[in-house]
């Protein structure tokens, strides 16, 4: 079986005591060890051990949920790298943008990747939601997971919106001013909510700091927890909503 030197080396590594102490299973060559690979891992155990073959097809999901999650991961990683070059202060935040463009190696690329990823995540999340709706994925027993999904959609919008202010250029400043002015249209609590969000009556230093904390700490943590629940519930609700044979045949005849 193992022929190449790399495979031999890997197999030898798997036999070591250190490797076994970490993974507590042999190589995934039997269904038992393949199951252990999923539920013996704190991250992967959110996934089911077995999945329907039908739900793996591209046309079943277009992997839109996967893309939303993977974009979240990509944005976390590029975001952490951007944090190394960023100060949430006026006007240093803007100067840091200039540094990213002219001083930091690959700074432009890093910021571009974060920005493109952010747009892509908003699109992926909305597309995912509409696709799930058209497939009837909200029906019992998936009701609660649909609601978790709506919360995640709102968190995605908040994450994107709070990040929009951080470059502290004209685009950022006025987008946040326009957006937060809408909140104060609410007659009862509107002004108070806006004051709480901005740390003042205008978009200023306090607003930048609050949006920074929301964008980099609070919202990603909350979103991470809801994502965990979202994944976990797919498994607990018995997998994705799939068309049964007779429905699928009928559907394919229509296509």
């Amino acid at each position: 079986m193992a022929t190449s030197p790399i495979e031999l080396a890997l197999n030898r590594l798997r036999e070591t005591r250190a490797w076994r102490s970490i993974f507590r299973r042999g190589p995934a060559r039997s269904n038992r060890t393949r199951s252990l690979a999923i539920f013996g891992n704190i991250f992967l155990h959110l996934l089911p051990v077995k999945v329907r073959e039908q739900s793996l097809r591209v046309r079943a999901t277009y992997y839109l949920g996967s893309f939303s999650f993977l974009l979240f991961l990509l944005l976390t990683m590029t975001g952490i790298l951007l944090m190394l070059y960023y100060h949430p202060a006026v006007p240093q935040a803007y100067l840091d943008m200039k540094d990213l463009r002219f001083v930091v190696s690959n700074g432009v690329f890093l910021r571009n990747l974060h920005r493109v990823g952010a747009h892509a995540m908003v699109i992926a999340v909305f597309w995912h939601m509409f696709h799930v709706f058209y497939r009837g994925g909200y029906r019992p027993p998936h009701q609660f997971n649909w609601v978790v999904g709506v919360v995640l959609m709102l968190l995605t919008l908040f994450l994107s919106y709070t990040g929009y202010l951080l470059p502290w250029d004209q685009l950022a400043f006025w987008a946040i001013t326009v957006g937060t002015n809408i909140i104060s249209a609410e007659p009862v609590l509107g002004h108070d909510v806006r004051f709480l969000l901005l740390g003042g009556n205008l978009v200023g230093e306090n607003a930048l700091l609050r949006f920074y904390v929301l964008h980099c700490v609070i919202l990603p943590l909350v979103a991470g927890m809801f994502i965990a629940v979202h994944f976990w519930r797919i498994q607990k609700d018995g997998g994705l909503t799939l068309r049964e044979d007779h429905e699928r045949e009928g559907h394919e005849r229509q296509d």
Partner: protein, 232 residues
């Protein structure tokens, strides 16, 4: 589907080993017939491998985009210089376009709140769980209700002169008319429309309006929120 029923009953007499179950079917529900939804495979490696491929495809696509498209950076923020028009991020431009037509309390607070509430309660409406076509029963009555609602909605929208809501509403309404007058066994697209449930129509209308508003707000609005052509 009825010719596919394939079940076994009466396994044994040992009640501990084979407990007997009685199923009560209340009048408003139907017994769930579980059809064949295919076999299961191990997540490791079948699912994880596909996720890894998805990750690679995504990263390659985004890296290529990031190489050719630069994130915008304008002048330093200045509260004294207001750009005209001042625009929110693109995903809120639909709302900003609505603000152009309706008072802030309606467009900024009422409509978004109602949309979010509507999204949350979708799965808790157990109407039409079998997703039967809109025109499956009470055709004439439903058609009248639809025409009345459409007319009321259009009067409301015309009153506020909300043209970028009216256009997609009329487009979807036209498709509803097509679906009503289409006869069984027609062309594929007509047959597809004819068999859509009411929930499909509502969501399609919502998406059509949301997309139109966002596109108009992003590309077709200039100084003072006046209409501009993006290619001029």
């Amino acid at each position: 589907m009825s010719d596919k029923i394939n079940y076994e009953a009466g396994f044994g007499s040992n009640a501990l080993k084979d407990p007997q179950r009685v199923v009560f079917i209340t009048p408003k529900t139907s017994a769930k017939v579980k059809g064949d939804i295919g076999k299961k495979v191990m997540s490791y490696p079948n699912l994880l491998l596909r996720e890894a491929i998805a990750l690679e495809v995504m990263v390659i696509a985004l890296v290529i985009l990031s190489l050719f498209w630069d994130a915008p950076l304008e002048q330093l923020a200045n509260p004294l210089v207001t750009p005209n028009p001042a625009k929110a991020p693109w995903y809120f431009l639909g709302l900003q376009e609505l603000l152009h037509y309706f008072p802030p309390i309606v467009a900024g607070i009422l409509i978004p709140t109602l949309v979010i509430l509507a999204l949350v309660v979708i799965p808790y409406f157990n109407v039409n769980i079998k997703s039967e076509p809109f025109w499956a029963a009470n055709r004439t009555r439903r058609f009248l209700i639809f025409v009345v609602i459409l007319a009321a909605l259009l009067v409301f929208l015309v009153f506020f002169e909300a043209w970028s809501v009216i256009a997609p509403t009329l487009a979807v309404a036209l498709l509803v008319f097509v679906s009503y007058f289409a006869s069984a066994g027609g062309p594929r697209s007509a047959e597809f429309l004819r068999t859509r449930p009411v929930s499909w129509w509502v969501m399609t209308w919502f998406i059509a309006v949301a997309v139109t508003l966002t596109v108009v707000g992003t590309f077709f609005r200039g100084p003072g929120w006046s209409w501009v052509w993006p290619w001029r």
